[in-house]
């Protein structure tokens, strides 16, 4: 047992007092991420570099305190919420680009670097970093590694694990080690692969080697407007069946379009039933032919209009709406619960029907955004957490929707991670043996249960209870027992 005062003193000795946050009113802003989970940490620290991260982790292990890593707090599965309190390790003060190696097309960055800043810096050399989550202006590369983040352009280019060559990691045991390196295909067990997407349960990345790609010569973005989600969905399958692999293929339904247009004025048709945002990139002639074919497929399946954006400004406007679509739903309701299911593309229409049936039954407004090319759907359930019972209602509806995805042969998460919110669904897809094997990997990295607890794997007891916020805050005085 230690008092908070002692804890703060010891953390301050390791990282400097200016890098420790501990007052109740300063901690309260670290109780959330982009989801609806909330829990107050005992302290938040901002170490600078692997040595300090390791020292903090070892101290917490000695004190038996849970550790939770945090990037920008934009996550959508509760991954950076300190579910069992303890110490949050923030990476927001490690945000440098250490190196851009143009010849070998790679960059070495610190984990707190916002995703977009890497592509911005690489653009000067005609290069870019491919994974582009919708939150890329805010989310960090370290967080992307933890969640194996995707993004609209991962349809053709792959997700984070395809673009990270190596990571310097401080393990849950507080050891510093390199997984992978500067060249692809390291021999031995692919621990780099195990680490990426481990949702902050194995350790904290302190340096990341990112692969950079040359910027495409030509990009054409199409916005196809449909009356119904069904028409748009069948078009997606048709385009892929025709042998095309668009750089991105995104779908938005009517409610999303209306919110995005109201919030971002991006020129979306607010009266359409659904739109498809299609992006093609590559060499001029090939792209022109593909764009013509894609347009034809859209019209054949009932598109009323297909707009083409060819200048960077027009493209940016179309994407602005898509990338801000989720946040713009704040105009309709104060809270949303975003789901992240994956279904085989062929069953998209059927599962969509189930989703709307479920939301109607629960009396919920539901907006839909999809990475349609991947069969990755994001139903967003809108509610007001201040209404008693509303949160529970939404969680129950969400569970049914996830069940529908799994029943259709899909999975629990496309890109947001399992985090806190879906760990209890893991047994739907994994056997006891599967889960036990995964928890053994945790132990290899030194996680005996206190490193980002209650995330990814079903943790048994002690994690599910909801926070009594007011009581927690009151108990958070400087001398409260930690």
């Amino acid at each position: 047992m230690t008092t908070r005062r002692e804890l703060v003193a010891r953390l301050s000795a390791l990282v400097g007092p200016e890098n420790v946050v501990y007052r109740a009113e300063d901690l309260i802003v670290y109780e959330f991420d982009g989801t609806i989970e909330k829990k107050l940490p005992h302290a938040v620290v901002f170490p600078l570099g692997a040595e300090q991260v390791a020292a903090v982790i070892r101290l917490c292990n000695t004190l038996g305190l849970p550790v939770t890593p945090r990037g920008a707090g934009t996550g959508l599965s509760g991954g950076s919420v300190p579910t069992r309190r303890g110490v949050v390790i923030g990476t927001s003060r490690m945000r440098r680009i250490l190196e851009i190696d143009v010849e070998n097309r790679l960059a070495v960055v610190e984990p707190g670097l916002p995703n977009i800043q890497l592509s911005e810096a690489a653009a000067a050399h005609g290069l870019f970093y491919a994974p582009d989550p919708s939150s890329q202006k805010a989310c960090t590369i370290g967080g992307n590694v933890a969640e194996n983040a995707g993004g609209p352009h991962c349809l053709a280019l792959g997700v984070t694990t395809n673009h990270v060559l190596g990571v310097e990691v401080v393990t849950a045991a507080g050891e510093i080690t390199w997984l992978g390196g500067r060249v692809p295909d390291a021999f031995g067990y692919d621990l780099r692969g195990a680490f990426i997407g481990s949702e902050g349960t194995l350790g904290i990345a302190t340096r990341i080697v990112c692969r950079l790609l040359p910027l495409p010569a030509t990009v054409i973005t199409l916005l196809a407007i449909f009356d119904t989600v069904e028409q748009a969905s069948t078009t997606v399958s048709a385009i892929i069946a025709a042998g095309m692999v668009p750089a991105a293929m995104e779908m938005m339904d009517r409610m999303t379009l209306q919110a995005a247009e109201a919030g971002l004025q991006c020129g979306y048709p607010a009266d359409a039933g659904a739109v498809l945002l299609l992006e093609l990139d590559g060499i001029d002639e090939v792209i022109a032919t593909q764009a013509a074919r894609a347009r034809a497929e859209c019209f054949e399946r009932g598109a009323s209009e297909v707009r083409t954006a060819s200048t960077p400004a027009e493209r940016e406007l179309l994407w602005k709406g898509r990338k801000g679509a989720i946040g713009s739903l704040g105009r309709i309701a104060p809270n949303y619960y975003i789901l992240d299911g994956v279904v085989p593309r062929s069953r998209l229409v059927e599962v969509m029907g189930r989703v709307s049936e479920i939301s109607e039954r629960y009396g919920l407004k539901c907006a839909n955004v999809f990475h349609a090319g991947d069969g990755n759907l994001h139903p967003l359930l809108l509610f007001d957490e201040r209404v008693p019972g509303a949160t529970a209602n939404v969680l129950e509806a969400g569970e049914e929707m996830m069940r529908a995805c799994v029943d259709a042969g899909g999975s629990l998460t496309g890109e947001h991670g399992v985090g806190f919110e879906k760990q209890r669904f893991m047994p739907w897809l994994y056997s006891e043996t599967d889960i036990e094997n995964m928890s053994r990997i945790r132990r290899v990295f030194g996680n005996e249960g206190d490193f980002n607890p209650c995330k990814l794997l079903p943790a048994g007891t002690g994690c599910g209870e909801t926070a009594h916020h007011a009581a927690a805050v009151r108990a958070a005085g400087p001398d409260a027992y930690v």
Partner: protein, 429 residues
């Protein structure tokens, strides 16, 4: 809410719960925030500050000195508002949390009281302000300044020294309500030039340049009498009651027809475009305020609609967006388009050209440390890009860039967009 008949009661208007609940804490704003970029702290981000306001509103935490400190460090630059997909009215929330703080400040009550007194009784009273600013205006253009600088005296004067570095090099004679301005040969239209507070006293040259540029476009601008300070500084400080008083005074003075009101100070323009919101609960003024606001145009916004006049200026120019022009008024394109019309003008964009310079009204006085960090970022960019001219469109920014240019150790001039265009048009005659 009753109309504020007396200018003196302190309103306790805390932020509206509906404004606060609009934030879904998606976090897309955090990197747009200058104070988050500098500190890396969630409590110094828009999302964090809103969460604190919500926690105070819900009674989960007390409004302590620490909470106040996080709100006070906000620049109110509204860069977050421009990127917020949910349309959270962050600027309004910050004005209201400051009103809430002002009702019973946990710390710094005396400084706040002095500030409020100055904002009400010096800044908003033209005669007092003229007296107060006169020595600075005399000093700014006098040979004494060169001597002070050569001897390094200013550096020893702390905050006064910091102010010294910010004074414009050529303040020009003041322009006040009623001052006569340049007239066009052939009048094709009319406009009211909003004179403002410090702007009219320390930047009379900018007002005269504005009038000349408009005149060359056929517009006769007058510094209409009776107009007052816009109330932006008071509102940002949480003194909404007095901001409303000033707004009503301006409406009384300038309403009557639909003449465009041209504002060359981004902060004033943003505030005046929002008079409708400020006075929405005032039965006698609500509709009039909305009508007034639709007449307000920023200089760049208005000048871009005028027929192009020949202009030439061989210089490397960087345009730095004033926050309340880019973020609050969404005007980014027009100033650059106007620069694009000048023959020989090479425009260079710097990294963070639309990030706050740290001037932010009276922020450089209330938060000198953070203000200096942000200024240093600008200075670093100026060192890298070596512009001949730094151009912006707001008096506070202009003053901060004077200091930043000095800090960068480069020989650049700092001009208001209107001054630059005026000079280029004269060159081409």
């Amino acid at each position: 809410m009753a109309s504020d008949a007396s200018p003196w009661p302190v309103p306790a208007d805390a932020p509206a719960p509906d404004d606060l609940s609009r934030c879904v804490h998606c976090g897309l704003c955090v990197n747009a925030c200058p104070t988050y970029a500098v500190t890396g702290l969630e409590a110094e981000s828009p999302r964090g500050r809103i969460h604190l306001a919500r926690a105070v509103d819900e009674g989960r935490i007390e409004l302590t000195a620490a909470v106040q400190g996080h709100w006070d460090l906000c620049l109110q630059c509204r860069a977050c508002e421009a990127v917020c997909p949910s349309g959270v009215p962050y600027g309004r929330i910050m004005e209201h949390v400051r009103a809430q703080v002002a009702a019973d400040p946990p710390s710094g009550g005396r400084a706040r009281a002095i500030r409020r007194f100055v904002l009400r009784n010096v800044i908003a009273r033209p005669a007092v302000l003229a007296l107060a600013v006169a020595p600075a205006r005399w000093y700014a253009g006098s040979p004494v300044r060169a001597i002070v600088r050569r001897l390094g005296l200013a550096a020893r004067l702390g905050r006064i020294g910091a102010l010294e570095a910010q004074l414009p090099r050529h303040p020009g004679r003041p322009v006040r309500p009623g001052t006569r301005l340049a007239k066009p040969h052939t009048v094709t239209g009319r406009a009211v030039l909003f004179t403002g507070c410090v702007m009219g006293e320390l930047f009379g040259g900018v007002h005269r340049a504005t009038a000349r540029v408009l005149a060359r476009g056929g517009i006769a601008a007058t510094a209409a009498p009776g107009q007052a300070c816009c109330g932006a500084l008071q509102a940002h400080d949480g003194d909404l009651a007095f901001a409303r008083v000033l707004a009503r005074r301006n409406i009384d003075a300038l309403e009557g027809d639909d003449t465009t009101i041209v504002v060359n100070s981004a902060g004033c323009g943003a505030a005046m475009k929002e008079y409708g919101d400020l006075l929405k609960d005032d039965e006698a003024y609500a509709a009039r305020a909305v009508a007034f606001a639709t007449r307000v145009r920023d200089f760049a916004e208005f000048a871009a609609t005028l027929p192009a006049t020949a202009a030439r200026l061989g210089a490397r120019v960087t345009y730095q967006d004033p926050c309340h022009l880019a973020h609050a008024q969404h005007i980014r394109h027009e100033p650059r388009a106007l620069l694009g019309r000048i023959t020989g003008c090479e425009v260079v964009e710097t990294a963070g050209g639309d990030m706050c310079c740290g001037a932010a009204g009276i922020y450089s006085l209330t938060q000198p440390q953070m203000s200096a960090s942000l200024r240093a970022r600008k200075a670093e960019q100026f060192r890298q890009h070596h512009p001949d001219i730094v151009v912006t469109a707001n008096p506070g920014c202009q003053m901060q860039y004077e200091a930043a240019v000095r800090e960068a150790g480069i020989e650049a001039r700092v001009l208001h967009l209107a001054e630059l265009i005026d000079e280029a048009q004269r060159n081409a005659r």
